[in-house]
């Protein structure tokens, strides 16, 4: 049927089906891919457009219903005169990180501004209720809307973001953002190649079953289907590898034919499925709709097996066994620290507190699902893979060497614009090499983009650890010992770095910011029929800091002392650095007490009792919770990481080239996905080379860039490791320029100064001077070079830090619990963080807001739900997986101190995920403080009003009307 309407002022007409959704019409018929598909259930708002001026989630509207109407998408916002004030405001106020949710958010706010020219913060937050952010929080969006509103009324907007006159430390506007605020930036789902086919992948209907047969005959006959693949077609594809093998303990993985690395699951399950996302078949068709239509026709004959979903249960004799290579489903059992000495110290202590804690399973639930696009060129035998992965270089190595067995130099991996990851896109999933292999088999490019329901089942989840905690000390409050026996639920198969999170990231981090003479962590990493787990923002440190911050809180209450004072008396003091925490980390620098003091002062801690009384008069129970933290970041020293078992280097790398024109191009091994490395690294380079930032281009996201050895972005490492490599690369150039100048000027190199982008011979500064561009030109000519010097001004630099770095801080949450409904309101949230030297403050603020929003979600709402009978994932959309919305959050208050790290020459500490760990304990501590008069000691997350009500009922403190 024919649809005609106006889109962005243009008359459009197209043949569509009745069932065609507006988003499909816009993206596929009109090629307006600025509107993104996130949740597909009108929850996340990524697909918001204006239809006759009304905010409309285009994934939930039939295209035909917009007949004769005016539609405005993000592409239609800018005019010939430039960007819309709202677009500019988003850019200037740092409201854009990875940008996937940005177009939808901007369009929703357009409706608001068209109706209300001076919206308040509360009105903006309420209107944002339809738009989710999983990476950036809402503060900068609110600021953007207010700035745009003022601009649209003709007010001069005062520059709210200051500069310190230098590049490092200035909130320079982020690069590539214009493409994101106009919808031009292409994400994986937006990409088209000539002749491209579309894939859909069938997942298991249950979590544990014997597969008796997969009947694809009906699917093969469906319109548009090119081919259907099953396990029998992929016998030549090797299993996914595991590249983390702790040398200090026994691990139980699966076999791998390489004999070099152990293995994980295969692209298709063969005779048995072990979790709900196990893949069984793939349909490749001319269109995505045809592929999924055919997918629904595949019949699976299976015999269900008993499921085991709890890690502790799975480790007991008699539990269903998942892998023959892992008796009692134990992947790894190991102990950090001296458990005997710790238990002895506990037994001898005056006060002991014990608590079982469950750190619940979470879903990363990025708004952008995963996808891959692959192409094979038979003429050159080159493979090209586009994927939204945060580890492109490891993808190149692992796929070529360990999965497909193809030449490394024939595989190119490119990352287009990429939505947030929260850590889940740091794994090698079976679907990715499958897509590459299918492209070769079919001789045409193949694209696969997951569905939201599929993502819930096949993309790694996280956390999910049971902890038996004991904390001991003196009656005066001095800690003497801490022990934890843990069961980590790793799911059905190991991801490529499966041991990393439950082993060192948790195990070495449990002492937190405190001096604890005896500490031990015993962990069982256990297979179950759940989705495999991988790191999630705050990974490992979140579980560890939650443990210690809850434990120290409970300890303080048991001895009747102020929790802030107990923290203070046990904190590592500023004169104790470098400090060995007894479990393997050496904290580099810090002033933990200072951030605690600042946070307490900002929260009005001295007047807490008065605040509580005032709230009680309004029918609210007020509570204040502290979350102090120190978190390992800046992964890391390659030798140390190798010692932990990671079969990879973790150095940083940068390739720099200064063209004869003076332009500087730097390729980084970091993988930006919202952290703005393309901006911050240019700031570092501009400061180091003392040239305008506009001369510097940062290249990334393509293994064909001139950086042969690259790593990835994860674990708050990019700035403090990869950024330092950039700095080193620039320093190499300055060194060569000075040496060349010394030769040309016939002066000792000690008399050559590099200043303001020039080499200057200090004895004759007026005559002996060349710009960096002139040096580059002369080196490119190569007419007269000193002995041993090569032409050109380029080089590679690496940085392998001798130690990790350790950002730290204290967060405070103030909550009010309604006495009748037990609803929790967050009244204030105060974060005091120290990330060492900060290159771009507003970028770091954005990362911090995102960490806080995620942590609050964990504390209060998020949890993956499974069917206990079938092991099927029940929370497979953003309606059934609850995430707090903007209208609920108060203004989040951010403060920073700056204690440089001695671990790198920038003095930087990680910032990308480290401010997540203190959030959940601050929230739960606050809730327990609010309920302290009812003797509520602990509530497992997510802490819901229902849980609070039930606990109070059970403790004979029933909540009455």
């Amino acid at each position: 049927m024919k649809l005609s309407n106006h889109v962005n002022g243009h008359f459009c007409t197209s043949e569509i089906e009745g069932r065609t959704l507006l988003i499909t019409y816009l993206r596929e018929h009109l090629a307006l891919t600025g509107t993104k598909e996130g949740c597909s259930s009108a929850s996340c708002g990524a697909c918001t457009v204006l239809v006759s001026g009304k905010a409309t989630k285009s994934c939930q509207v039939l295209a035909i219903e917009t007949e004769a109407q005016e539609i405005q998408t993000i592409e239609g916002l800018a005019t010939a005169d430039g960007l819309h004030p709202l677009q500019n405001a988003f850019w200037e106020n740092f409201a854009v990180q990875n940008g996937f949710s940005t177009p939808g958010t901007i369009m929703a706010m357009m409706e608001l501004l068209n109706e209300n020219t001076a919206p308040s913060d509360a009105e903006i937050k309420e209107r944002l209720s339809g738009n989710l952010s999983r990476e950036s929080g809402y503060e900068q969006v609110v600021a953007s809307v207010k700035a745009a509103a003022a601009k649209m009324k003709g007010a001069e907007v005062a520059g709210g973001i200051s500069s310190n006159g230098k590049y490092i430390g200035s909130s320079v506007k982020t690069r590539d953002t214009e493409k994101l605020i106009t919808g031009e930036g292409k994400f994986i789902a937006d990409m088209e190649l000539p002749g491209m086919l579309h894939a859909a992948i069938l997942q298991s209907p249950v979590a544990h079953a014997i597969i008796k047969g997969v009947d694809t005959s009906e699917a093969e006959a469906m319109p548009g289907v090119v081919r259907v693949f099953t396990a029998k077609d992929t016998t030549g594809i090797m299993p996914m590898p595991v590249i983390w093998i702790p040398p200090f303990t026994e691990s139980h993985f699966l076999p791998h034919p390489s004999g070099i690395v152990p293995g994980s699951h295969t692209v298709f399950a063969t005779d048995r499925v072990r979790f709900a996302g196990d893949q069984l078949a793939a349909v490749v068709a001319e269109t995505r709709q045809q592929a999924y239509d055919a997918l629904s026709k595949i019949r699976v004959d299976y015999e269900a097996l008993p499921v085991v979903l709890d890690a502790e249960e799975a480790s007991q004799p008699g539990a269903p066994q998942l892998h023959e290579t892992a008796p009692n489903n134990i992947m790894i059992h190991t102990i950090f620290g001296d458990s005997e000495a710790t238990e002895k110290a506990i037994a001898e202590s005056e006060v002991v507190v014990e608590q079982k804690i469950y750190n619940q399973r979470m879903m990363h639930n990025t708004l952008e699902v995963r996808g891959a696009l692959a192409k094979y060129d038979p003429a050159t035998q080159d493979y090209t893979l586009w994927a939204n992965t945060q580890i492109p270089y490891p993808h190149r190595l692992l796929i070529s060497l360990y999965v497909l067995g193809i030449p490394y130099n024939k595989l190119r991996v490119i990352v287009p614009f990429m939505g947030e990851s929260n850590g889940c896109k740091g794994n090698l999933y079976p679907d990715t090499p499958l897509v590459l292999w299918m492209a070769k088999e079919l001789g045409r490019p193949v694209k696969w983009v997951d569905t939201r329901a599929g993502f819930a089942r096949n993309t790694a989840q996280s956390r999910d650890q049971i902890q038996y905690v004991k904390i001991a000390g003196t009656a005066e409050g001095k800690l003497t010992a801490l022990s934890c026996v843990a069961f980590s639920n790793v799911g059905a198969y190991p991801v490529i770095n499966a041991p990393g999170q439950p082993l060192p990231l948790i195990g070495r981090s449990i002492p937190g910011a405190y001096v604890i003479p005896h500490a031990s962590y015993e962990v069982n990493v256990v297979y179950t029929n759940k989705v495999p787990t991988a790191p999630m923002r705050g990974s490992g440190r979140a579980e560890a800091i939650f443990l210690i911050e809850r434990a120290i809180e409970m300890f303080a209450r048991k001895i009747g002392k102020d929790p802030a004072e107990v923290r203070r008396m046990n904190m590592v003091q500023s004169d104790q650095f470098p400090y060995e925490n007894g479990l393997g980390w050496t904290y580099d620098s810090g002033n933990y007490e200072n951030t605690l003091d600042i946070a307490l002062e900002k929260a009005g801690y001295a007047t807490l009792e008065a605040q509580k009384a005032e709230a009680r008069a309004r029918g609210k129970l007020l509570g204040l919770g502290i979350g102090s933290y120190v978190a390992v970041a800046g992964v890391g020293n390659s030798g140390k990481m190798g010692g932990e078992g990671l079969m990879s280097g973790t150095w940083g790398s940068a390739y720099i080239h200064i063209a004869p024109s003076g332009e500087v191009a730097i390729t980084t091994g970091a993988q930006p996905h919202g952290q703005s490395q393309q901006t911050t690294f240019a700031q570092i380079a501009a400061e180091e080379l003392q040239i305008p930032m506009e001369y510097v281009t940062i290249k990334h996201s393509d293994t064909a860039n001139p950086l042969y050895y690259g790593q990835a972005s994860y674990g708050s490492r990019s700035l403090s490791v990869e950024g330092v490599a950039v700095q080193k690369a620039c320093q190499m150039m300055v060194k060569k320029a000075r040496e060349f100048a010394a030769y040309l000027f016939k002066m000792p190199v000690d008399l050559i100064e590099y200043k303001e982008g020039k080499v200057v011979g200090t004895p004759a500064p007026e005559q002996a001077v060349m710009t960096l561009q002139q040096v580059a030109l002369m080196l490119w000519f190569g007419w007269d070079l000193p002995e041993g010097m090569d032409p050109g001004l380029e080089g590679s630099a690496y940085f392998d830090p001798k130690n990790f770095n350790f950002p730290f801080g204290t967060h405070i949450a103030v909550v009010e619990i309604d006495e009748e409904t037990c609803e929790i309101d967050l009244v204030r949230y105060i974060a005091v963080d120290d990330f060492g030297t900060v290159v771009n403050p507003e970028v770091v603020n954005g990362q911090t807001y995102g960490n806080i929003v995620l942590g609050i979600g964990q504390a209060l709402a998020e949890e993956v739900k499974y069917s206990p009978e079938t092991g099927q994932v029940l929370s497979d959309d953003l309606d059934s997986y609850m995430v707090p919305r903007s209208g609920w959050f108060p203004k989040v208050e951010l403060y920073r101190t700056e204690t440089p790290s001695p671990s790198n020459s920038l003095g930087a500490k990680g910032a990308g995920d480290v401010s997540n760990p203190p959030v959940a304990p601050a929230m739960v501590n606050a809730i327990c403080d609010a309920l302290s008069e009812f003797d509520v000691r602990h509530i497992d997350m997510p802490v819901t009003p229902e849980k609070i009500w039930e606990i109070l009922q059970q403790q004979n403190s029933p909540v009455e009307l």
Binding site: R19, A42, G130, Q953
Partner: protein, 276 residues
């Protein structure tokens, strides 16, 4: 994506719509976005979708004296923008409980009556408390039934909802209270109350619940026990204490304990009565 293909038609007259709806597998579509959600999940698998968007007379709000007639295609946002609706507090508060602008723009009265999703609950509860009636039309004529009866009986095959009618009682007060935990947009419990008083005594009260029940419902027994009662916190609480636990089947996908839902409902009713 919608897996199930269907044909789509948008007739220009209600007579034509009747003809199309008489065919097996055809379903009416008011334009409410909940229908799209149902087709995506497979809960609705029509062979033909009959859209009412071109049928005249369904998209207006008409006031005749104290009678307010709201066409079935009128969106939530259009209702909020209407001055007559603005004079009915329980209705305004119920509509404002829906925060998502997309839901406000693309949910409508007819959709609420046909689909009864959680986002429709507040409106339905408010209309129930206002003793609203539903105007239905089929090939043989029009009929009016109470909303309460409609929610129990539903609409027959081929029937089209034309409008909802309510009477504005300027002597009555009303309020809608709800729980939307973390403002995620899931109303786990809501209570709509409309009451009239003589002095400080309740002379007439209607109470409707949503969110915690599968279909919004009037609480007649509670209404009887509150009628003639002096408005005070103690009296309201005493009446709510007597509310039988088994009168309602309470459930919500986000709350596993029906006792907690029952407690919430009582709290919200109390707050709505006291606010009114």
């Amino acid at each position: 994506m919608i897996q199930n293909p269907f044909s789509y038609t948008a007739p220009d007259s209600i007579a034509e719509a009747f003809s199309l709806l008489s065919k097996s597998g055809s379903e009416v579509f008011t334009g409410d976005q909940a229908f799209i959600g149902n087709t995506k999940t497979g809960h609705a698998r029509p062979s033909t979708v009959v859209s009412l968007r071109n049928i005249p007379g369904l998209n207006s709000i008409i006031q005749h004296g104290d009678q307010l007639i709201i066409g079935s295609s009128v969106s939530f946002s259009a209702m909020l923008a209407d001055a007559a609706i603005g004079s009915v507090p329980v209705l305004v508060e119920a509509l404002r409980a829906i925060k998502d602008p997309h839901l406000k723009n693309h949910s409508n009265v007819g959709g609420a009556l046909y689909h009864r999703s959680t986002s429709h609950g507040p409106l339905l509860a408010a209309l129930l408390s206002l003793d609203a009636s539903v105007s239905l039309s089929d090939p043989w004529g029009d009929k009016n039934i109470t909303l309460e009866n409609y929610l129990t009986a539903g609409s027959g095959q081929g029937e089209i909802i034309k409008s909802v009618t309510l009477t504005i009682n300027r002597t009555a007060a009303g309020s809608f209270r709800h729980i939307d935990y973390l403002k995620v947009g899931e109303i786990v419990c809501g209570a709509a109350v409309v009451l009239a008083t003589k002095g400080e005594t309740i002379s007439k009260i209607s109470v409707a619940a949503c969110g915690c029940v599968s279909i919004p419902v009037r609480l007649r027994n509670l209404e009887n026990s509150l009628t003639g009662v002096k408005v005070s916190r103690e009296n309201i609480e005493a009446a709510l204490h007597e509310l039988p636990t088994d009168e309602l089947t309470l459930s919500n996908v986000n709350i596993s304990n029906p006792s907690y839902l029952f407690h919430l409902l009582k709290v919200l009713i109390k707050r709505a009565v006291l606010k009114s």
